[in-house]
């Protein structure tokens, strides 16, 4: 049967099922196929806080959304064009996000009376007409898979489990994906259980063939590769990118990386990733708590290593006191905060940008700390390198902000060549710098105001440092009022002075006549960018800028803000960057704030921006 092939420029697919249905794996594989096909893409996993939430309930639904296109895209998509629903709960949990006309592929085998009720439906949605505005493709996924695997010597449970591969095969057919990589993957994954491997491959193929042969699937789709810059690409999510950035920076600085961390969602994967790379001189230390994690990292920095600590909001709160110590000691330290929904335990698996003010002010006294934020999954790599540069160059703790969305979301990344990465100069001091062969641990560099870094083992530079206020130059304990005032201002000046090392802020204002500037930071980059494109497509002008540095701000920020009639600041918090901008520049920025644990939708933002623009 010759089927029709339609061209599309972009598609958003969401796989949804029970936590145990393997939706993350399915999504990952589809992503890999899509990536190697050459589409641009962006992904968004979404899973319950429970390890295994009760099967069949809405709370237990796990999903994976993938947006791919023949052009460069910025977000995982606002709403799915295609939903794969492995059971009634998955349908129910995601139905509300579907636009009219969306395709829904449902696993009819699971729509028993009991399951339908468990999902909270009053009647079977496949029968009561409630899905009439969608294109429903009813496929008995489970039973077809089990039948396809009859000849294999595996348990019924294992056969049923392979239904996700059947679904993947079907979707692979629908979107003309390449299948080799998934077959290889399955063979490797189940190398120790060849029967299971073969069964999964068979299920995958069966799904593919199902699409090819079943009448119900009349059309398949082609999305051409995106014209990305030449180079080698891989798909990457934020946590590994951040880990790689740290390793790369340590390598380019000639430092050994020491991670002191305590597991916490969504930061744990950085610990897991770094733990694999001991050959790079990376030491990972799973501490008894967050305080010990940062303490050990600071100890390692004192020893001449690159101390790093990773956590999320509640763990960062615990580190507050030690961050203050690091400010006082003026040693390099990178503090990664993979933000999640707060306050308190909050929404551990959801995303949010609500730790910005904690990063800036969450400790006693005047204790300035530079803050750097990543804007996309792959950008976590570069943000980490920048954080290390600042930490090492200025001898200071640095905050690196990411969030749950960046941590788990993914996108293609053009792998940089190692030589293209900047080098970082730790500049250890090896000789006395004071009169009569003395060592002055707080004698500063004239340009950076950084103090020297003398590492134990260096003869003649023995010295003592601590958290009590120190005399300028000598670092001896000092209670002198004027010295204290001077040191407080000097630490502030050191951090403020980092701005001198920053490039001008890039403003994307293609028409040059925008009256409204949208300014963001962190993971909202994608949705804001996508929204700006929509606005422009609608014939309106809008300028976009995005802050990598939250402290200090780039020197030209004030001037840029004042150039526009209106400045809109969308944030996934109640207006934290907005507050800082208002305070510093006295500009009446307009906050657009949502605290829903989810990334912004580009369409919604676009409407907001249009509203402001037409209002000017």
């Amino acid at each position: 049967m010759q089927k029709e092939v339609k061209r599309l420029d972009r598609v958003v697919i969401r796989f949804a099922g029970d936590s145990g249905d393997g939706m993350q794996l399915t999504g990952d594989r589809f992503t890999a196929e899509t990536a190697s096909f050459g589409n641009d893409l962006s992904t968004l996993p979404n899973f319950p806080a429970e390890i295994r939430a009760p099967a069949g309930t809405v709370l237990g639904v796990s999903s994976f959304q993938l947006h791919f296109a023949d052009h460069d895209i910025m977000t995982p998509g606002d709403a799915p064009d295609v939903l794969v629903a492995m059971n009634p709960a998955a349908l129910r949990a995601n139905q509300g996000d579907l636009p009219a006309g969306a395709t829904v592929i449902v696993n009819t085998d699971e729509f028993t009376t009991r399951s339908v009720a468990k999902a909270g439906y009053a009647s079977n949605p496949l029968e009561d007409g409630s899905l009439s505005q969608f294109q429903v493709q009813a496929v008995p996924l489970t039973s077809t898979t089990v039948r396809a695997l009859e000849e294999f010597d595996i348990s019924k449970k294992d056969a049923e489990r392979a239904k996700n591969m059947f679904a993947l095969g079907l979707l692979s057919w629908m979107y003309n994906r390449t299948t080799e990589s998934t077959i290889t993957f399955l063979q490797e994954k189940f190398a120790r259980k060849p029967e299971i491997a073969a069964a999964n491959v068979a299920a995958f193929r069966a799904g593919y063939n199902y699409g090819d042969t079943t009448e119900a699937f009349a059309v398949s789709y082609e999305i051409a590769p995106a014209p990305l810059p030449a180079g080698t690409y891989r798909n990457i999510s934020g946590n590994p990118a951040l880990a790689y950035g740290l390793i790369a920076a340590a390598q380019r600085a000639g430092l050994e990386l020491f991670l002191g961390a305590y597991p916490i969602t969504p930061a744990s994967d950085i610990l897991h990733e770094l733990a694999k790379h001991k050959r790079f001189g990376v030491r990972t230390f799973q501490a008894e708590d967050e305080i010990a994690g940062i303490g050990a990292a600071l100890g390692a920095s004192f020893g001449g290593g690159l101390g790093v600590t990773t956590s999320s909001g509640p763990g960062i709160a615990l580190k507050s006191e030690t961050i203050g110590l690091a400010v006082s000691l003026e040693l390099p330290l990178v503090i990664c905060d993979i933000q999640r929904g707060g306050p308190s335990t909050g929404l551990p698996t959801k995303t949010e940008q609500s730790d910005l003010l904690q990063a800036l002010f969450g400790r006693n006294g005047e204790a300035p700390v530079p803050v750097v934020a990543a804007k996309s999954p792959s950008d976590c790599f570069y943000a980490a390198m920048e954080a290390v540069r600042i930490a090492v160059t200025y001898r200071t703790p640095v905050f690196l902000l990411s969030d749950g969305y960046l941590a788990n979301g993914s996108e293609p990344w053009q792998v940089p060549s190692v030589d293209s990465l900047p080098t970082i100069e730790p500049g250890f001091i090896r000789e006395p710098n004071g009169p009569d062969g003395t060592y002055l641990p707080y004698l500063r560099d004239a340009e950076t105001l950084a103090r020297p870094w003398a590492v134990p083992g260096t003869p003649g530079l023995e010295h003592r440092i601590g958290g009590i206020e120190k005399a300028d130059r000598t670092g001896a304990i000092s209670y002198d009022p004027d010295n204290h005032d001077f040191m407080v201002r000097t630490r502030q000046a050191k951090v403020d002075g980092i701005a001198r090392s920053l490039p001008p802020l890039e403003v994307d204002d293609p028409t040059g006549d925008a009256k409204v500037l949208v300014l963001g930071w962190g993971s909202t980059y994608g949705p804001i960018g996508a929204a700006c494109r929509r606005v422009r497509r609608a014939g309106l002008s809008v300028a976009q800028a995005h802050l990598r540095h939250l402290n200090p701000f780039p020197d030209d920020l004030g001037e840029i803000l004042r150039r526009y009639d209106r400045v809109v600041v969308p944030e996934m918090n109640l207006g934290q960057l907005g507050m800082l901008l208002r305070a510093k520049y006295l500009v009446d920025v307009i906050g657009y704030n949502q605290v829903r644990g989810l990334p912004f939708r580009a369409a919604e933002l676009a409407e907001v921006f249009k509203g402001v623009i037409t209002d000017v």
């Binding site: 890999a32 990536a35 190697s36 050459g38 810059p229 030449a230 180079g231 080698t232 690409y233 891989r234 790689y244 390793i247 790369a248 390598q251 430092l255 050994e256 020491f258 002191g260 790379h277 001991k278 050959r279 790079f280 001189g281 030491r283 230390f285 008894e288 708590d289 305080i291 010990a292 303490g295 050990a296 990292a297 600071l298 100890g299 390692a300 004192f302 020893g303 001449g304 006191e321 030690t322 110590l325 792998v415 940089p416 060549s417 190692v418 730790p426 590492v455 134990p456 083992g457 260096t458 003869p459 003649g460 023995e462 010295h463 003592r464 440092i465 601590g466 958290g467 001896a476 304990i477």
Partner: protein
């Protein structure tokens, strides 16, 4: 990692005074900390380690000012966190000799968790716990080693909570080396420091220290020439535990219950006398010893309770690094381009 130039002067030429700094020592006149400082400075040359390879890390408290007075690398950190900081340092720099100085509040109150975990982890740290049974720096509140009923500013009607026995606690936390000594007994103190320094792993040394301002005379029973021999049980590995004037007292084991206790007037050849075995693999022995004394200090064992060999965290960690390197060279380009990649051509 820096590769510092090694100093030429032979290490053995170091003297106690080489470990003094130009900082004025700021403890109250008469404080037991002075004696400990002198003993430590006197011991350091013996360590045979160049000054620049020695680091003292402390928390906060009177005792924690110690690093300022040692002409080595040093960090006066924050309250309770020294063991954690020192663990990061020691496990990334196994070439250093890392010492922690802490107090009974610093180590056992706010820092109890780090101490406990340091002990089980067994990185190569020497922890000197200056136990004056009081919070000195904050002017005299009771501490986790103060005796029950202690009247202090924060407990005007007497403290209510049973104190820790730091030796018991450490043994319960899987410590590989635990010892106790006294500020004023320089020879004993240095002997214990020697044993601690020789031990590979985390060594906890409890040092009874007089705070003459807020808890004066707390250890007088063990210091006063009239009483000290009666109440001090000197532990020496391989020796029967006998003490008192003319060694008439001894630690004996009750053959029926297996428990140990002190008896007076024990015959020289009494087979029940316990022969001290600091290397006993079973910590139950050292634990039992630790229970001979209560807070009243009657029958206080002094010396090394336990010293057993156990792999150290820093060594194991660095072994893993070596192993990983041996398996394959670090290849940054390979790491970045790892996993599934694809190529876009012009």
């Amino acid at each position: 990692m820096s590769e510092p130039v090694r100093r030429e002067i032979p290490v053995t030429a170091l003297k106690a005074k080489d470990f003094k700094t130009d900082q004025e020592v700021r403890w109250c006149p008469g404080c037991g900390d002075y004696a400990i400082l002198a003993a430590v400075q006197g011991f350091m040359p013996e360590l045979g380690v160049p000054k620049e390879d020695i680091v003292f890390v402390s928390g906060i408290g009177c005792s924690s000012r110690f690093p300022y007075y040692m002409n080595t690398y040093g960090m006066h950190s924050i309250h309770g966190r020294a063991p954690a900081i020192a663990t990061g340092l020691a496990s990334s720099r196994p070439d250093l000799s890392v010492w922690v100085v802490t107090g009974d509040g610093d180590a056992l109150s706010i820092g109890g968790n780090h101490l406990m975990h340091a002990l089980r982890r067994n990185a190569n740290l020497k922890i000197l716990l200056f136990d004056n049974r009081i919070y000195g720096l904050t002017k005299g509140q009771y501490s986790p080693t103060s005796e029950v009923g202690k009247i202090t500013k924060s407990t005007p009607m007497g403290s209510l909570d049973s104190p820790f026995n730091p030796i018991s606690l450490a043994i319960g936390a899987e410590a590989s080396f635990v010892a106790r000594t006294l500020d004023s007994d320089r020879k004993h103190l240095q002997g214990v420091l020697r044993a601690a320094a020789q031990h590979e792993g985390t060594a906890l040394v409890q040092i009874y220290q007089n705070c003459n301002i807020f808890n004066d005379g707390a250890f007088e029973l063990l210091k006063d020439a009239d009483t000290r021999d009666d109440w001090t049980i000197r532990l020496e590995h391989g020796q029967p535990i006998r003490f008192g004037r003319d060694d008439v007292k001894a630690v004996v084991r009750d053959p029926a219950t297996g428990s140990i206790r002190v008896e007076e007037h024990v015959a020289a050849d009494d087979p029940r006398v316990v022969v001290h075995d600091a290397h006993n693999a079973d910590p139950a022995y050292a634990f039992a010893l630790s229970r001979l004394s209560g807070t009243d200090l009657r029958y206080t064992p002094m010396g090394v309770f336990r010293s057993v060999e156990r792999p150290t965290y820093d060594r194991l960690l660095n072994d893993q690094l070596d192993q990983a390197r041996a398996a394959a060279e670090p290849d940054l380009a390979g790491l970045l381009a790892g996993g599934d990649t694809w190529t876009v051509y012009q």
